[in-house]
Amino acid sequence: MTASADPSFDAGREPLLAPRTAVTVVLLAVLALVPVYAMLSGDGFALTLFTRVLILALGAVSLNLIMGYGGMVSFGHAAYLGIGGYAVGILAKEGIGSGLVQWPVAIAVSALYALVVGALSLRTRGVYFIMITLAFAQMIYYVAIGLDRYGGDDGLTIYRRSQFGGVIDLNNKTLFYYLCFALLLTSIYLVARIVNSRFGLVIQGARSNERRMRAIGFPTFRYKLVCFVIAGALCGLAGALLANLTNFISPALMHWTRSGDLIVMVVLGGLGTPFGPLIGAVAFLLLEEGLSRVTEYPDLILGPILLLVAIYVHGGIEGLLVGRRDG
């Protein structure tokens, strides 16, 4: 290895929006055409399934920001889905149907919750961090069960989707699908910008070596906390979308297994890669859907697949596709 032998002056950086592989492009094209297929074939279920995929992918994008780039393994990320969903459901029940109120509230309350959880959990690390985020999520889960006025354990039906003054009609399934798609792509772009900004490099540096970060002069805690809040807000939006998709909210929205699902999607797709969460969400949810049709125990097959990915494929599916060197 001689000096200046390395032409890749910027090795180690993640590209912005530019999809790095044909597979990513194809996947995006397929996703863009799902409503067309649904319309031609009359398969309404496919549209609903893929809307769900996009929304959970948004949640995975959010988790990837803190977990993939920041090394903060939150095992309570479904709590934001619940908070976002309940914000929409509770406001709807109380007669406030405007999405211009519901969605900002969903995002703001999620951010506030993230601020509290982050302020406490980010003082710990490793297993303790995982346990605290899980404990908070379980707390919120039981709070939701205790909300008798809003259905308690049984959940709450939302009779009207969020209203946008007649400009956007969320009852139009195709429109709703494309809205989710647009929000997902926007969030992927946003995260890609953030992780390569000064802020993002601090977050990545703290994942890699927090002790050194402090030694060179970074108060890492406050940066990680802000990152945690951004991720929480983003996932709160996903929760608001999910409530609009299902017209129903219940504590099951934030069951801890759902937090696990989100982690699996991120790991499956490739930690710390821009499109990894989307690829992971598509793979995970379609596998789950497909397997549940052929067997009563889809997890029996899903489990070993995840095990193989975790052991053999660093960088997840996206890593496999682009031959990413794990560094």
């Binding site: 002056f9 180690g12 000064r198 490099l201 990545q204 070596n209 060179i216």
Partner: protein
Amino acid sequence: MAEALLQIEDLTKRFGGVVPADAITLAIAPGEVHAVIGPNGAGKTTLIGLLSGELAPWQGHIRFDGADITRLPVYRRSQLGLARSFQITSLFRGFTALDNVALAVQAHRGHSFRFWRDARGEDELRKPALAALARVGLAGRAGVRIERLSHGELRQLEIAMALATQPRRLLLDEPMAGLGSEESAQMVRLLRELKGSMTILLVEHDMEAVFALADRITVMVYGRIIASGDPLAVRADTAGRQAYLGEKDDKENAGREGRHA
């Protein structure tokens, strides 16, 4: 010693019954290279922990440029101009050499709550980082991921990281650790170039390097300072020689035992 840049007074640290730093009092003048030597277990690592802020002292004070920094967190000390290198290379994996140094530059360019602009495209960060790399002789390796750098290059990068924060005082924790003789000589040359432009506290086992660089030497044994002064005086001082020779004997004994085993 009002003019000392770094003033350590009565600094004490206890871990249970062990006292790795026992009433250490030391003054380091601006521009001086001050070496701390002593056998393993003498408390050198503890001293570094106390000075960098990773350990809190039992009692005593640390003053930097007149200000009491005894209770300041690590990152604040760095912002004041106290940089350190690590004995065991401590860098950011997955990043290039230039990324690593640029991050150190960034730490001293205001807050980093900037979310949009590509930080790798900012001349304000890249140029000083490249300059720091050039200073340690790594300019040609700027774009290489650190996983592909040699051990010697990583040691140089350690120094570049510390330099990039434009420190007034540099705390070097065994910069020669694990280096071959040629690499060591290169490192000594590099540190000699830095001499005069900043105050350096050097903790080092390599006696050749210490005597080549230090203006003053402090010898620590069992958490105490047993000698402190200019190199010739310390060399002549029996206590100092014993501390140094004692360690050497230990190593030789260990080697001999190893051969017999």
